[in-house]
Structures are given as structure tokens and as C-alpha cells.
Assembly symmetry: C2
Homo-oligomer: 455 residues x 2
């Protein structure tokens, strides 16, 4: 068995078996079945449990080999020792496994021993596997959801363009929940846990050629085969942007990572160098990775790094400009001939420089006028910030700006800070498919990612 | 007239006149009256406008000097030229003015001329003034609210312990709205705009001795009298923590600041040095200043910088640990004798190191047990992170952790990322008066502030 490639079937399965299926809502497997059904998976679902004839109206099988079908994905939701027991039995019809069970390498020496045996078994039986100690796949393209956390607790994002790869299940759940909550979609999310077999490189290789994926976000505790990762990532970056957050950078974080998914983090500097070499955009914090997902779900990367800032509040314009400079972006002045034209179309008190301050007298059309006049060749992207205090500003501004953004071919990022009222107003942007950044810092982090974070 | 001190009456007024009062909801003054009434100001309110006999059931006066009372605060909500006109007339009974009107220095040469005349007039008449081009005061101690943005649009925070000083009105509105939305209170907020008279030093001097204020957050575009600021701030820092964000640091931001409140930002390095010398904790971004307000509303500064991290999700623990190290905080290992005791009280799979990972098997009491056992002398503060996926975790954990935090005498910061469900669960902490930080980065920014951001 080669460890490379051939994992496409995980992302277009025709049949899924759920080993350890149960109608008991306290069992993880019960939630997994719920997730699969809710997601609307169109293929076959086969519950497996010798204790039941039927679960949720689906025929239940005593063992995987009793299923009269090949199994693209067998989800193992049983305890660690049972996983090995089952794999020791007849499992010829299983192609791929998602082993969500914990109790392996992350548990110390005994668990590690178990995981070594698991690996041997999988290789012997020719089964590709994700996990153990993982959540598996949330896939808006193939309609697969193997997550054992209910959607009441962790909201599922709609279909989007960014795929997320992560060792950490809690990270997968957290970012999915937050993105969904902010109206941002994802393509495919893979939580591969301890990586007994399938790892980041396997997934990257698949995602590189995946039409549903326009950008990739990586949450990396450790990389097993550095050379292969570098090669795969480099190929991938030729086709679509790849953003990565390396965690466990320093001693305590690294210590925690080792007990978490049994990962050995390695020297951070090596990762940094590999990311640079592969052309991966490295981000430094969780917030940055999330901002990257939000912005890459809507926009491709841009060539330059010259930012036009348009706002209706002086203070926030300054904060955005400061943050841009800090992030290595540029905030060039508006050309003087443009200034003259702009002055005619903007409110009397408006400050016509970069940042443009439309002031509290702003009307919806002023935002569009400012974009139309000022967002010329000299800028690569625009950050448009809205405080919703001005009395003449309405939700209608969202569609106007979206239409402009669609036609101009360059990214327009929306920044809308504030509480309840502002969130409600800003939802007009989310409704048109434009992500909203809720702080100046967040909008600038997203802009920096689009510019490739080139300082 | 000295520019120093004597502005206490702005923060305990007995009478407020509203010049330019109007029942027309399109006028700013209408919103200001609404704000004052809603806030429950206990003193006298005198509307002033020759066009009305009465507004909102209050007798309306044709001119300020017709009011048979001294006026602690006269709010000027009329256009720039009218401000000067009125001040040229009889205004002997006015002690202080809040001039919200724009159209002064921020408007260029003509406005600057107007502002110079305004300053002369105020000095001649012996009137202390905030503004122009400002929102004025939002004060939970004296129940004054002069903000001309309705509370439907910008929520008002409850009574709290941090006072905020800012040139920028939009910043004042933004941070108040966000703090209110996250259940965090404030003491007094002053938006002093162009600073024709009252400036950051005057306010700092008052706040230094103010019992209602336990900590101070500054949003600074520029400082007029650097020497006085340094002296006042140094005295203030002896009594309570002062945190500052300098905006307009770099060229474009500085350029915007000059057209915004007419400020000349000066060299950033000079500010940096002054902050350091005065003992001010400088923060670098809007998000950091907000996190500072949240944490200082609840906790005093701590001496050391050793952080205990407790979580129920491995990935997030690693992110917090990484961010701590990045911020110059320390994440020391748990003493080995403590580890043994802890192991008996925590879930079987728990990782008993720092970060402690209580895993998905966590129950409410495990958080408290982990705090009780591990939060010893070797730590200065704890960051407790909760993902709400674990089935046995309940809202009740909030009161348990709050009780522990109250008794232990050291800060316990709550980190709860996620979407709708998590926010709802986390609201249990807000209800007990504990601020909630929604990302690992945010919790660590707050921790760094409590440690004085000493690297």
C-alpha cells in the first residue's frame, strides 16, 4: 500500500457504514447518524450493530461484512479496542475508514501501542483511514457529515469555497460554528486527528484538483513527512491559495500538542521555512485564520497591496489606516484630479483623502460614488467601513456596494463594528454573500491575507 | 483662566441646559434630550430654543440667561456660527459647555479661524468647554448622557468601573455599543473632540481622584501639552491602571487624524516614550483596547505573568498557550505533586499538564477541581476555556467558576469561542459579571494587559 493519493472516494462516497450505530442519544454514533441524515447524504447509509435490527428506519447489520455492498466510508464509533477487534474480522468490503474513537496515541504508551497495531491492521487489510481521535468529514459538496457534535451545538456552514484541514477536532468544530454564525460557507472540512494513515499531504493532494475548493486553510500541529508536504503543498499553491496556522510553536503549546493528538511538533522555524518555500500564506493566530477563511470564501488573492479606505467615522478610518501600515499594506493618497471630482459628489463635510471620511451626513449613494470615483488603478482592494449611526444610511447600501464589487473585479471588504443594531444592519451584506469583518483589525487581517501577507 | 483642573462639575452636574433643543426627531438635539431623559438624570434639564414654549413637558427658554438657575453643563447643539453668536450674548450663568457641533478646526482654515474665536470667547466668559465636534459625556455615575446617537442604534453599557477618554466620537460610540452588547459596563465615557479647552489631561486629573473609576482607557489621536500629560498621567497611574491606544501612528493614519479632529499627531515614538515613562500600558490595536476595557472592568493588574490554562478542547489549549508565549506571558508546567492529586479528580482521559485538557468527558465540577488543585502560588492568573460540545457540561459551571474566582483573589479569564449555542451558554458568565473572551487571541490580549504587557 502506498500512502499517497487515492483518497478521492472519501469525498464522493456512495455508501457509508456506521459501526457502533445506536439509537441511544447519549452515544456519539447516534449524533453521527443524525448528522448524516440532516446533511441529506444521497448515498446508502448502513448502521452496523449486532444489538439492533433497525435504527431510524434503516436496516441495521450485525457486522460490516454482512452488508451486501462495498463500503466507501466505514465510520468507527466504538471504543479503541473494539476498532481493532472489528478490523481483525472480515472487512473486505471496506474501502475507507473514519475512526472517530479516542484512546490511541494521544493517551500515552499503551494507546500508542494500540495505534501501531491499528496501522498494521489497516495496511494489511488495504483500508485507507482518517483518525483515530477525530471528527472526520464535513463536506458541503458530497453532503457528508460525520461530526459527533449535534448541529444544535455546533452550527454547520452553508456551501462555500474554502476547505479546511485540521488535526484538531475542537478547532474544526469551533471554526465551523463561527463561520456558520457569520454567514460564511465552507467547501470541505477534514478533521484527521492522529493521522494513523491519511494526513495533510493526502488531503492537499486531493484538494489541489478539487473543483469545489477554491482555497485551503490548514491548522497544523505537526507534519509527518515534511518532504512530501512541501512537494504537495507547492503543487497545490500553483492552483489555489493555501493559508496555514502552525500551532504548538513554542514550548508549552508544543507540549500540549503532543498530549493532544500525539503529535511531535518539531522546530517551528522548519515549518516557517517550509511554508515560505511552498508559497503557503502563513497566519499567526486563530483570528487571522478565521479572517482568511472569510475573505477567501469570496475573493481571490490580489497582486498588489494598495488599500483604499472609505468610512463614515473618522476614528475608525484612522484605526484601519494604522493597522494597514502595521501589516505592511499601503494606503496611498487619492490622485488630486480624482479628489476634485469626488468633492462634488460627496457630503459637504466629507474628508476627501485616503481614508475617505463620508461623515455622519452620509447617504447610501455616497459610498458607491466614493468607490466609483476613487477605486481606480492605483488601488488593489478597498476596505469599506460602516458605522450605522448616520440617520440617512440604510440597509439598501449593501446591495449597492455588492453590485459595485461584482462589477469592479477587485475585492471590497466590509468592516462593520458595533453591537446589536450594527450586526442587524450588517446582515444585509452577509445576505448578499459579502463577508463582514467586525473590527478594523479583522478587516485588515483579511486584506493582508488577500495580499499574500507580503510585508 | 487656568486650563488645569476644576472640571469636576462636568461629572456631577445639578443642571443641564440644551441649547438648540427641538422636538423634531431629525435634529441631533432631539436625540440628546431623549438620551438625557432615558438615562434618568436627576438634576434639572432646561431646553433652550426661542421657537418653543415647551418640549417633552419641560419648559423651554428663549436664551440661556433667561434660565433662573446656574447651568453646570450647557450642551450646544446648534450650528458652528450660532455657537459663537450665543456665547457672544449673555451667558453668565453657564459654568461648562459641551459643544457637539461640528464645522470647526476639522473643516480646514475657515473652521480653524472659527475655533480660535471660540476659544477666545470661552476664556473671556470663563466657561470651561468640551468639544467642539464631539459627543460629550456618557456617565453611569452621574446619569448624564449627551450622545446624539439614539440607544436603538448604539446600546449604552451598564454601570461599570472603567472610564474611557477619546477624541473620536465614533470610537466612543463603537466601543460603548460593543461593550454593552457583551454585557460589560463602563464608569464614564468622555468624547472631547477638537479639545478647544478640556483635554485628556484635564480628564485624567479628574479621573485620578474619581472613586467611580477603577481603570482608564485612552484613545489618543494627539496630545496637546505633552509635559502636562506626562505629569498627570504619571500621578494617575499611581492610583489606577491607565491603558492607551495611540492612533494615527503612521503617515496615512496621521493624515486622516488631522482632518478628523484637526489633530496633529506628532511623532509616534514620542508618544511611545511618554507612555512608558508615565507607566501607561500601551496597547496596539482597537481589539486590544476593547479587551483591556473588558478585563479591567472586573480585575486589577497582577504582579507576575504566569498563566494556568484549563480547557476542554486540546486544540484551543494549544492556541492559547502559543498566544501566551507570543505575548511574553509564561505557561509554566504544573508541579508534579499537584499532577498526582489532579489525576484523581479529573476525567480519565484528561491531559494533566499546562494547558490542562479536561476533554469532551468534562463535567462542571472538573473545571472547579482543576482550578482548586492547580491554581496555586505558581500562577498569577488563569485562562479557562470552554467549548460547549461536551454533553455533561452545563450553564451551571459559570456560577461555580465565578464563586471560585471570587474566593481565590486572582483573575480567572473566560474564553468561549463559537456561534449561537456557545454564546448562549457563555451568557451565564456575563450574567455573573465575568467578561467572556470569544477567541483564544482575545483572552490572551486581556491577560497580557493584566500583566502590564511586560514582555
Amino acid at each position: 500500500m502506498t500512502t499517497e493519493g487515492h483518497i478521492d472516494f472519501f469525498f464522493k462516497p456512495e455508501s457509508i457504514a456506521l459501526i457502533g450505530a445506536s439509537p441511544n442519544p447519549e452515544k456519539l454514533s447516534c449524533t453521527i447518524l443524525e448528522s448524516l441524515l440532516k446533511m441529506g447524504f444521497q448515498g446508502k447509509i448502513y448502521p452496523v450493530n449486532p444489538g439492533y435490527q433497525e435504527i431510524r428506519g434503516l436496516k441495521c447489520y450485525p457486522a460490516p461484512d454482512e452488508i451486501p455492498d462495498k463500503i466507501d466510508i466505514a465510520i468507527f464509533a466504538v471504543k479503541a479496542s473494539t476498532v481493532l477487534e472489528i478490523l481483525n474480522g472480515p472487512v473486505d468490503n471496506i474501502k475507507g475508514a473514519i475512526i472517530v474513537s479516542s484512546g490511541f496515541r494521544e493517551m500515552g504508551p499503551e494507546g500508542k501501542e494500540l495505534e501501531i497495531r491499528l496501522k498494521e491492521l489497516l495496511e494489511k487489510k488495504g483500508i485507507r483511514a482518517m483518525g483515530p481521535n477525530c471528527l472526520g468529514i464535513y463536506d458541503t459538496a458530497s453532503k457528508v457529515d460525520t461530526f459527533f457534535i449535534s448541529s444544535d451545538k455546533v452550527e454547520r456552514p452553508a456551501r462555500g469555497r474554502v476547505s479546511v484541514l485540521t488535526q484538531s477536532g475542537s478547532f474544526a468544530a469551533m471554526i465551523m460554528d463561527e463561520l456558520a454564525n457569520e454567514g460564511v460557507g465552507v467547501a470541505r472540512v477534514v478533521s484527521y486527528g492522529n493521522k494513523v494513515d491519511v494526513d495533510e499531504s493526502d488531503c492537499l493532494e486531493f484538494l489541489a484538483g478539487d473543483k469545489a475548493t477554491k482555497a485551503i486553510a490548514l491548522y497544523i500541529e505537526s507534519v509527518g513527512n515534511g518532504r512530501r508536504f512541501l512537494a504537495t503543498a507547492s503543487r497545490c499553491v500553483q492552483k489555489k491559495p493555501v493559508v496555514a496556522l502552525k500551532v504548538g510553536k513554542r514550548e508549552p503549546g508544543a507540549r500540549a500538542a503532543s498530549s493532544h493528538t500525539g503529535a511531535v511538533s518539531g522546530r517551528y522555524e522548519a515549518y516557517e521555512a517550509a511554508f515560505r518555500k511552498a508559497g503557503i500564506i502563513e497566519v499567526e493566530t486563530y483570528e487571522e485564520l478565521k479572517d482568511a477563511c472569510k475573505v477567501l470564501n469570496r475573493y481571490p488573492l490580489v497582486e498588489g497591496k494598495r488599500v483604499l479606505i472609505i468610512t463614515d467615522g473618522g476614528g475608525i478610518g484612522i484605526s484601519i489606516a494604522d493597522a494597514c501600515e502595521e501589516a505592511g499594506l499601503r494606503v496611498p493618497e487619492i490622485a488630486s484630479e480624482t479628489v476634485a471630482e469626488l468633492k462634488e459628489k460627496l457630503p459637504a463635510f466629507a474628508s476627501v483623502r485616503n481614508p475617505v471620511d463620508l461623515t455622519g451626513s452620509v447617504k447610501d449613494e455616497h459610498y458607491v460614488a466614493a468607490l466609483q470615483e476613487a477605486f481606480r488603478e492605483e488601488y488593489d482592494l478597498a476596505i469599506v467601513s460602516l458605522l450605522w449611526g448616520p440617520p440617512l444610511l440604510s440597509k439598501g447600501v449593501a446591495e449597492k456596494i455588492r453590485n459595485f464589487a461584482d462589477s469592479c473585479g477587485k475585492p471590497v471588504l466590509i468592516c462593520s463594528p458595533g453591537g446589536k443594531f450594527s450586526r442587524e444592519m450588517a446582515s444585509a451584506f452577509t445576505a448578499t454573500g459579502m463577508p463582514v469583518f467586525f473590527t478594523p483589525d479583522s478587516a485588515v487581517r483579511a486584506a493582508a491575507v488577500l495580499c499574500g501577507r507580503k510585508k
